[in-house]
Structure formats: structure tokens, C-alpha cells
Amino acid sequence: MKRFRRHGQESQRDRLKQELYQFNKTVEHGFPHQPSALGYSPTLQLLAIGTCSGAIKLYGAPGVEFMGLHDENAAVSQIHFLPHQVELVTLLDDNSLHMWTLRAHTGLSELLEIGRFTLTGPPGAPPSVTRVTAVLAHSSGELLLLGTEGGHVFIVQVPGFRELEERNISLAEVANSVPDDNLGHRNLEHVEALQENPANPNHVAIGYGRGLIIIWDLEKRCAIQHFLATQQLESVWWTEDRGYILSSHSDGSYCRWTFGEENGNDVEKSDIPYGHFPCKAISKIIQLHTKEGTPFLLFSGGMPRASFGDRHCITVIHNKTHVALDFTSRIIDFFVIKDGQLNSGGPSALVVLVEEELVVIDLRAEGWPVIQTPYLVPLHSSAITCSHHVSAIPLKLWERILAAGEQQKTNYSKKPWPITGGQNLAPHPPQRDLLLTGHEDGTVRFWDASGVCLYPMYKLSTAGVFHTDTETNDNHQGAEGEWPPFRKVGSFDPYSDDPRLGIQKIHLCKYSGYLALAGTAGQVLMLEVNDEAAEQTVETKVVDLLLGQEGFRWKGHTRLDVQEEPVLYEPGFQPFSLVQCQPPAVVTALSLHSEWKLVAYGTSHGFGLFDYQQKMNVFIKCTLNPSDHLAMEGPLSRVKSIKKSLRHSFRRIRHSRVSLRKQHVNNTAKLQEANAHLEAELSKTELAPIQRKVEARSSDDSFTGLVRILYFADTFLSDSSHNTPSLWAGTNGGCVYAIILRLPSVEHRTDEPITAHPEKEIQLMHRAPVVGLIVLDGHGSPLPEPLEVAHDLACSPDTQGAHHLVVVSEEQFKVFTLPKVSAKMKLKLTAIDGSRIRRVGVAWFGSSQSEHYGESGLVVLTNQGDLHVVSLPGVKLQVRFPCIRKEDVSGIASCVFTKHGQGFYLISPSEFERFSLSTRCLVEPRCLVEVPLDLGASIQGVKKLDGYLSALSETSQEFQNSDSSARCVMEHALLNDEEVLQEIQKSLEGDHV
């Protein structure tokens, strides 16, 4: 065959591959891992978040997202937008400054790095002289003030990063302009804060670590005023209205100083809000005026050290209201969004970035409710244990889920999302896609995954079905008269009540609204969508997967206790049937067939089939190898090994610490050190060189009976003339079981029992775990999903031609004929390149060139992190793309494919990366950000044409009709429109010719 294939066909196939497959990582969903900096541009209405890994992410209106990554692998410590411009400056941990811009290109903005800069001190100066500790982007948009650890303030011209040496504010100059007696020859320490006077851009407040605050006039190059605090300075804030300066300090106090009075060098007011006992530092303080007169005072930290030193709080005081917002993780930074076009109004929303989530609080509404964030939602509010993607949800189910979700959002503010910068130009998503994530605490979250924003739709909790120890609601909050007046905010709660509740497998039928969930303690829960709240009990069946065989003792956790009394379930998915596997091992495979009303589940001991219509167990098969002791251990032994490895790593850390400390040895430490050294040596000998055992798989290996995949198919199993319903199961030991099902006719479905009996077994000789089973119809295309044909969404499978079974093991793809099972084709992977299949899915790829052409294929992720597409039914490798680092085991394990060639995987505990292998299906941010031109023109003039963006838009409609500015807008439009430019170019060239 191969010999006769002509070259032309090959190249034609290559062209077709290019039309079908294309790899893109499109967008990151969720919350950035380890955020380290926050920035906000009131003019652009864009939010920027920097992370410890050097990424910066910009967010505006839902769907407007940009991402950039610094080449340096250093944490972003500060982000500053240049006022009224599309540029922003980032400061990294390695003391480098970076200039980024949002440049428009073919009508879309993209985030680009346009410059970098590192301060250079005089030769021979210690590095601390140029170590940047504070940055001020001056409102002129031309200057950047950089305060350093050495106490100097350097002034740099942007965007080109040109140092203006003559304008630098040196420590000596500052010391000269302040009377000596105040300083008392003390070291001023580093520059802690730089603030510009909102009323006069020439005045800059410079706060030094030791507590001195200088008001410096940039024009006159001298200090106008100085204030001296007694405590270490944490932050400085210049109020907009009456010329006050607020400073916060390390002892939990803040001071108010009056600016402008000749002799007002003394503190006007000083307060320790949570005083009496020692308090922690107030790291940032803000005061904002309102039209009504009483200002808002906001500050982070300042809690009493002994009693509440571990809380992460932001205090908001307005009028008589005083609330300490209590966050569940460390506060990175916060800012306040103000009302009005020019942000001149009062505060409307408080935006807080904490380590694990973004919380936005409506400061206008009574009680300061939280505003639901449309993006940056913490996916990991409880750890993600599994995920499931369903494409093309019917509108009806979609609306029911949305409605159920709406009813859950009672405590949220009605206010629309306040960050509205940029325009989302992405086309409306072609279909409604749902991503379901299962969590450790037994919840399932439903996300709208149709577009760029992964928007939370609905949250389902299964904990109510079971008795758990933590029924006692923590009602300690809201106790009257408590001081400080805490209020818990945020949804991040990583502490699971009971790890057995964890969701391990999800299967949703989008047509019938049935949902099957399987968990850590062998529970399989059937749920049905219901628009009304209902009080009901869940019918429970305990299923012995060992079939009563003696001599086995399960050493793992016990199964969950079921609530026997009726429970009130809120509208949405409500449980009606429960199967509990015995032994209660984690459920490793789950499949739901809503047309036959059957659910199949498997654990490391066997698998079962449950009829959820009649609520009867139909079939049980034990796959356990009797010599497999590990399978009876339960998850405990794993825990042990984790503990062991933790111990090892702690030892290593200790060892490295010891070596660090060597620099300053003292006598008392010597003995300790010797001991630690000895221990380190011991641990070294324990750690044998990394080696791998080369051994053929055998039937005696552990977990060979673990069920990896369950699959329902209506196919030819016993003879080639009648197709019958069947259940297929694949195990870790390379065995495939085929079970034939006899379903009663529809009218007798409720009373006649379903029978099942084993029909075939295939033991793959290479014994690799079976990870995928697919039946192909007579045309070689995969069988449609249940009910898909009934809803006219797929053509019925071809039953004229012979069906084929595709068995995907970790090592190879193999096609068998049906009903007589004999090997027809295969594709080896591991034997050739050593990679093993971790994830497999069936996807449909549409051609980018012709509307009607498309192919089904297998999408495969290997343990090397590579994505492959394998054609069906020919099982030939089509394309290969490296996708995930092979070291990122959890990322590879978390990968989930969609039916249209996209996929998701976790790049951190809180973030999904979305990728696409398809040329047709691509969800990526397409957005445009513009400077509001009225501001830009009036304040700035037109200085950087290419920094601004093309085409006039709605936002510039309210533009004043003055001649000059209109002209510059026209200039903008012309100079930025590529077509116009090209035309001009052409005409110029034409002249030359």
C-alpha cells in the first residue's frame, strides 16, 4: 500500500493538515498565581496585576484582557500606569524597570514591552544607592521619580528612560534644606513613599523610612516643608481637598499633617485605631473626600498584634460606619475607584487584591456588599480535583443553570462591574460551553467557558447529602460590639471539611439535565436539574464490588454517612439517587447514558452498572487481582510517602540553611551545625541515585484491576447483524471488558429489569493501562453521544458498515474489528518515542478553507506534555505540538479536551490555560483600548502618535468641538489608519516613478 502512494497525495494531505490543525495557547482563565503587584489606570479604567513569575496581566471590561511576560524571571514588585496614557511601568525584584504599552495593530490592541532601564549609580557606589524602593509616575506623563534604598530620588524622563541627572534629589540636598536639629544626624534611610500633590504637580512628598516627610518643589528644586514622625514610615497619602498629608507607621498609628502652613511642621492629629495594645503596621492609608463631606478613610493592617495579628484586614471608616474587612489571604494592594468621568466624584468601589483572589466592594450601596467579579475568579477557592467540559449546551438547560445561579447570588451587589476599560471586539461565541470543576470540598462549579471570560454560573454542593462533622456553623462573626468590627469577605477557603467529599469524576448530559458525580469515598451521586427548591431524601444503595469475597480488608477511609432525614435542596441540580461503593475507594471512572438511564462507575476494585430509573443495581464486576495488596490499602500509604518526601525536603532545606549560616559561625552554633551536617549526610546516603527499574508489566502488578475508562456504545458485539447496547470497561492492567445489555422496551422500562452479561474480554498483551475506548461506526466516525441523535444534533450512526473498536492504552492505539474482535491496525507511541498517553479525547476539526469539510480525530496529551492529533479511523499521527512542560505533572493530569479541538489545563492551582488545536474554533481575547481623547488632547496634546489608537469610537463622542483638538483627532485617525497610510505611500511612490 505505502509503496504505491503517490507523492502528490502526501503533499495534499499536508496541506489539509494545515487547514485543520493549528496550535495556539489563547487565554488564561482564573486568578494569577502568586500575585505580587497591583496597578490601576483611572483614565483607561484598566487593572494591572503583576505576579511573582514576572507576568503582568491587564483587565478591563469583561473580555478585555492582555498578558505580558518579562524576560527576567523576577517578581513584579510595582506597577504604575503613566497618567492619561497607554503606557505603564513595572518594577521588578531585580531592580529593573520596564515600559509597556498597549499598541493598536489592525484594530486590536496588544501589550508590548517597549523599553527597559536599570538605574546606574556613580562608580564604586554600593548597590543600595540605586535600589529602587518607590516609584512615582508624575502626572505630566513625562517624568518618573525613583526613590532608592540609599535615600536619593532619581528623575527619569519617559518613555525613553533618559536620566535627568541635574534634577535628581540627593540626600545631601534634602539634608541641607532641613534644619539639623530635627534630623539629629540620623540616617534618613530609604525612600519609602513618593506622592504628588493633587493640586500642584510641582509639589512632591518624599517619605523616608525613618519617618521624615519632605515636601519638595520640583521647579524650585528645594524643600518647602518637612514633617518628622517618630515612628518608621509605612506610607504617605496626599488628600485631594484641603491639603492634608496622611502618613501611616509601623506601630499601627497614622498621622495627619497640614500642608501649606508656614510653621505647621507638627503633627495635627495622630491616632492608633486599634490601639492600647501593640499593633501591627498600617501598610497603606487612603483618605477620599465625598460630596457629602465626610471622607472615607481606608487603611490596611494596623491590627492588635497579639490577638489579631494573623488577620488580613482592610479597615474602612465612613461617617459612623467602621468595618474591618477580613480577608482569607494576605493583602497585596488595594485601590479605590471613584465616580464620574474624570474620577472626580466620591469613592464608588474598593478593589482589593489579596494573594488568592480579587475582591471588589461596592462602597455606594448600604452595607458595602461585594460585587461579583466577572473574571479573576478564584478557581481554587477549594482545590480543584477534576474538571469536565460540555460543548454546545442547549439554550434551555443553559437558562435553567443561569437561573439557579442567579438565585444563589443574593448577597452580591447589584452594581455593574466598575472596571470598564477597553472594548471587547471578539465575535460572539458560536455556542454555549460549560466547564465544570469538581472540588475537594464536594462542590461542583459551573463556569461559562464560551468566551474569554470564565464566568461563574452556578455552584453545586454535595455536602448536604452527607453527615459531616462540621455542622456547627461558625456564627462568631457579627457578634455585637466586637472590636475590631470584623467582616469576612472573599470566597477563598482552602480548608476542606472532609476530604472524602472530594469530587473525582463528573458526567453531565446536556440534553436531559442529568448529572452524575463521583467522589473520593466511592460515592456516585445522580442529580437532576429542578427549577424549584425541593425537600427530599436521597435513595442510597451500597454496592459490594468484591462480590462478598472473603479475605479482603480495606484499610482506607470509611464511606460517608448519608443524611436520612429529608434535606431541602435549593433550585438547580438536586440529588435523587446515591450509590456507595464498598470498599469505599475513590471512583476512577464514570459514564452516564441518559437515554438508557444507566450510570456506570469503577474503582480500583471493579465496576458496576446502576439503573437510575428503577434505582437498581444491574451488574457488578470485580476486577481486583487478589494478590494486589496496594489496592486494598486505600489512599493512606500515599499519604505516608508524601510525608516521607516532605521530611526529605525539609531536611534539604535545613541543610541549605546550615550552609548559608556558615558565614558567621559562633561557638554555640557549632555543635548544632555538626549535628545538622551529620543528618544531612545521612539523608544523602538514604537518597540513592535516581534509577528506574526496567521490567515487563505483569498481571501481578499493583492496581491492574483499577478501572480507567467506562464507555457505553450501541454496536455489534455478539453478531454482525444486530447492534445491541453495550458497556465497555478498560483497566489499568490492559484488560477490556465488554458487557452486553438487554434493555426492555420503552413502555416497560420502569417495570422490567435490565439484564447485563459479559460478552467479551480483551487482554492486551502489552498490559498498559487502557485510557480510552471508542467505537467507530460504518463510516469510521465515532458514535454520537446519547440523545444527540434524538435531538437532531447528529446524524445517526451508520449501522450498515462494520463497526470498529479503538482501544487507546497508555502505550499505543489499536483498532479491532467488531463483532469478532481481531486486531486490524495499530499505532505505537511509547515503543517509538518513549512518551505515554495521559489524556485522550475525541474532537471534530473543521477546515479553515472549506465550510463543509471536517474530520474527527483523537486528541492526545502525553506525559511529555506534547499534544498529538491522531486520525480516525486510520490511527495515523497527524500533528504534534509541545504544550506543557513535562515536569508539570499536575498540569498534564488536569488537562481536559473539548469536542471541538480546544482544551484546558491548570498552569497553577488557580489558573486554567486555554489552548486550541483547531483552525476553526479559537477563543482568544480581541480587544481595543483607547485613551479617552478629551483627556489626552487637553492635558497632553499630541505627543506620541503611535501610542494612541486608531479609529474614533463611541467613547470619544462627547468630545468638545474645539477646532484645534478636532484637527488632532483627524490627524490621529489618518496617521493610524493603515490603509490611508498605504495609500499615501503609494501615491508618493507613484510620483517617483
Binding site: I690, V694, E695, S699, T830, N863
Partner: protein, 403 residues
């Protein structure tokens, strides 16, 4: 003696079965009847005898002579074991082994002693054997040299041993390299070695460079790798089944080896370069190599799993083709014949009805297409219908004979 051997077999099966979920025994072999189908030249004879009183080898030998009516002919006896290997019967021990492997069919192949010696060993019953499909170091035309292995120093007859390993492609590899083939499915021994990361020196166009390499780190005592003597600790692994491992991680190489474990071919650069195979002139090349003059006594090219360790001329699979019961073979699996792992075992419903919980017994997979060896007649193994019918007919026939 015989009884003891049978007893040993019984305990073996018991041990095996104790691993099964239920103590349900399904081996027909214990029914006490051994069906024999013997072939001499083109003639077949079928008969049966009681398992517990088979007598010794000599008795069996004369029985065969009588049955085939060849009383004056000197014969060599061979039988097909459950791996499809042709193994010799020439004493009481291996005769008992042969009987114990019958379940219940025992296939005997008789050859004249003066005939061309039969190549016993793994895969010897295979019909056709394609080349290894190795890439890289192969020279064009190297496969065409199909010369017979030269009989060198001969202590035991090579045909008396089952091949478990071989050195191959000696003629096309550099002398410093060694390509070793391990025949896992002829033995129950574990492969038995560990590999590790290491650094290797390579000569590149830019000079000598230090590159990561993979080495054998440990041999398990009693394992296949150790017993062959062909692999040693600190040997560098260059290829696995013809695929260069350069740039592959330790885990990848491990997975490749496991995936190929049924027929593992590793190309190594031995740490001990003193035992290298020397080329002995162009005439003598072939798939087999022979020792250099300084060859130490410890290692041999081809080892036996049952007989005494001895030096013997290697028998490579390619020149030892023995036709089995060709009338029962089907030839429809040419498609992926180059693979040895196509022995997926397929069980059909009739057995599954009986043994719902037999929990997948310890089947060592066989090449069903070529050598249909059926362990348990109650399980209909996927094979052509006529064949199964054939077998069933035999069974019935014998029962009536023995009854």
C-alpha cells in the same frame, strides 16, 4: 521420578491458581489425559495416554516409533511448548516437562537424526520472520547474508536449548557496540535491570562533547539480564529497539524498554570492552557473532534457561525456521506480523458465562495466529472457527479412545 515431576507440576499450578480470585480450577490438564499429536515428515498421528503413567522417555520413544511405524529410524523429538517454542525431548526430565506443558494437547515433531539439525528455541515455530526493522547503523545488504552459523566449539547441542538472548547485527555495528536481544516471553524470569542517568562522551563535528547518557545501574540477581551475561553494570544504552535514545529522558527510555519488553533489543556500549565480538573476515558475518581470541569464559553468546551454562554456537531466529502444524495455521495476520505483541487474548462469551469471576488468569499471551495453543478448552480463544472445531473434535475423539 516421573511421579515427582508430575507432583511438581501440580504444585506449580496450584500456586498459580491460588493467585486467582476463586479457587476454581479449570485446567483440563489435570483430567489426567495427555493428547498427543505427533508429526513425522508429512504424517500425523494422534493418540492419548494417561498422564499419571506415561513411563519414561525411552518408553515414549519406542511408542512413537511403533505408532509411526518407523522402528529403525533414529529420531530427534521435539515438542511445542505453551510459548510456541520448539523444545527438545531427549531425556526423562524434559519429557516430563513436555507432558506437564500439555493442556491437554502435546504436539510432537519428529525428525530424523541424520537430517539437518532442527533449530529449537524461541520463535522457531514462526512462519516468517521479517528483519528487525532497525534503523541507523544498518548497512545495505547486510540482511542478505544469511549464512549458517558456523559450528564452533560444541559442548551441548544447541538445539537442546531455548534461546533467551542473542547478540545480533554484529556485522553492521561498530566493534565497541553490542546489540543484545532479550527474549522475555520464553521465560518467566524478570528482565531484571535498572537504568540511570549519566554523562557520556561523544565525538561531534566540534570535538569531544559531554552529553547526557543512560546507563545500566544495576542487574537483579537471577534476572534475565544478569543470566545472559551480555549486559553489565555501567554499560551505556545507545538504542532501544533501533531507536536512538539521545536526548530522551530516563523515564522515556524506561517507558520505551517496558513497551518493548516482550522483545527487547538494546544496543549498548559495554563498560567492559574486552569481550567484544571481533569480525572474522567478511565470509563469516551474519547475524551471529563469535568470540574474539581473548574471549573470557564467563560469557556466552547464547544461553540456556534450563540446561547447564555452556558455550554454544548462537542460533539466531532468522535461520531457524521450523514449520509447526502448518495445517492449522492461518495466514491472515500478515499486516502487523513484525510485531511480537499481537497476542492480545480475546475471550468470548461462552467462557465468560461460566466464569464470571475468574478474574483473568495468568495468561502468557501467545501468538495466536501462528501457534494456537489453547490452555483451557472451555474458553474459546479467538481463532478461526475450523480450528476450534478441529480441537474440539480431537478432544472428543480422545475421550472415546481413552475411555
Amino acid at each position: 521420578m516421573i511421579l515427582a515431576a508430575v507432583l511438581q507440576f501440580v504444585t506449580q499450578t496450584e500456586r498459580r491458581m491460588s493467585r486467582q480470585l476463586q479457587q476454581q480450577i479449570s485446567f483440563k490438564a489435570l483430567d489426567g489425559v495427555v493428547e498427543v499429536k505427533s508429526k513425522f515428515e508429512a504424517e500425523y498421528r494422534r493418540f492419548a495416554f494417561k498422564r499419571n503413567c506415561p513411563g519414561g522417555f525411552q518408553e515414549f520413544y519406542t511408542l512413537l516409533q511403533t505408532i509411526h511405524r518407523i522402528p529403525e529410524v533414529d529420531m530427534l523429538l521435539g515438542y511445542a511448548d505453551d510459548h510456541g517454542d520448539l523444545l527438545p525431548i531427549n531425556n526423562d526430565d524434559n519429557f516430563n516437562k513436555a507432558i506437564s506443558s500439555a493442556n491437554p494437547l502435546l504436539r510432537i515433531i519428529i525428525t530424523r537424526k541424520e537430517d539437518e539439525p532442527v533449530g529449537f528455541g524461541t520463535n522457531s515455530l514462526q512462519r516468517h520472520k521479517k528483519g528487525l526493522g532497525l534503523t541507523g547503523l544498518r548497512n545495505a545488504g547486510s540482511l542478505s547474508s544469511h549464512s549458517k552459523s558456523k559450528i564452533g566449539l560444541m559442548i551441548g547441542r544447541p538445539q537442546n536449548f531455548r534461546q533467551i538472548s542473542s547478540i545480533i547485527d554484529v556485522d553492521i555495528l561498530p566493534e565497541t557496540h553490542r546489540r543484545v536481544r532479550l527474549h522475555k516471553h520464553g521465560t518467566h524470569k524478570p528482565l531484571g535491570f535498572y537504568i540511570r542517568d549519566g554523562a557520556s562522551m561523544r565525538v561531534t563535528p566540534y570535538g569531544v562533547e559531554k552529553v547526557p547518557g543512560v546507563y545500566i545501574s544495576r542487574l537483579v540477581r537471577g534476572g534475565l539480564a544478569e543470566s545472559t551475561g551480555l549486559l553489565g553494570v555501567n554499560d551505556e544504552i545507545l538504542e532501544v529497539n533501533g531507536i536512538d535514545v539521545t536526548g530522551k529522558s530516563l523515564d522515556q527510555v524506561t517507558d520505551m524498554m517496558v513497551a518493548n519488553s516482550h522483545n527487547l533489543i538494546v544496543t549498548v556500549k559495554p563498560a567492559n570492552q574486552r569481550n567484544n565480538v571481533m569480525h572474522r573476515g567478511s565470509k563469516n558475518t551474519g547475524n551471529s557473532g563469535s568470540f574474539g581470541s581473548n574471549g573470557s569464559t564467563g560469557s556466552a553468546l547464547s544461553h540456556d534457561s534450563t540446561g547447564p551454562a555452556s558455550q554454544s554456537t548462537p542460533i539466531t531466529a532468522s535461520n531457524s525456521i521450523v514449520e509447526g502444524d502448518s495445517d492449522e495455521e492461518n495466514d491472515d495476520d500478515d499486516d502487523d506480523d513484525d510485531d511480537d505483541d499481537d497476542g492480545d487474548l480475546i475471550l468470548e462469551s461462552d467462557c465468560l458465562m461460566f466464569y464470571q469471576n475468574h478474574n483473568n488468569m495468568n495468561f502468557t499471551s501467545e501468538r495466536l495466529g501462528n501457534t494456537p495453543v489453547v490452555r483451557n478448552l472451555q474458553q474459546s480463544v479467538s481463532m478461526p472457527e475450523y480450528m476450534a472445531a478441529n480441537l474440539r473434535a480431537h478432544q472428543n475423539g480422545h475421550q472415546s479412545q481413552t475411555a
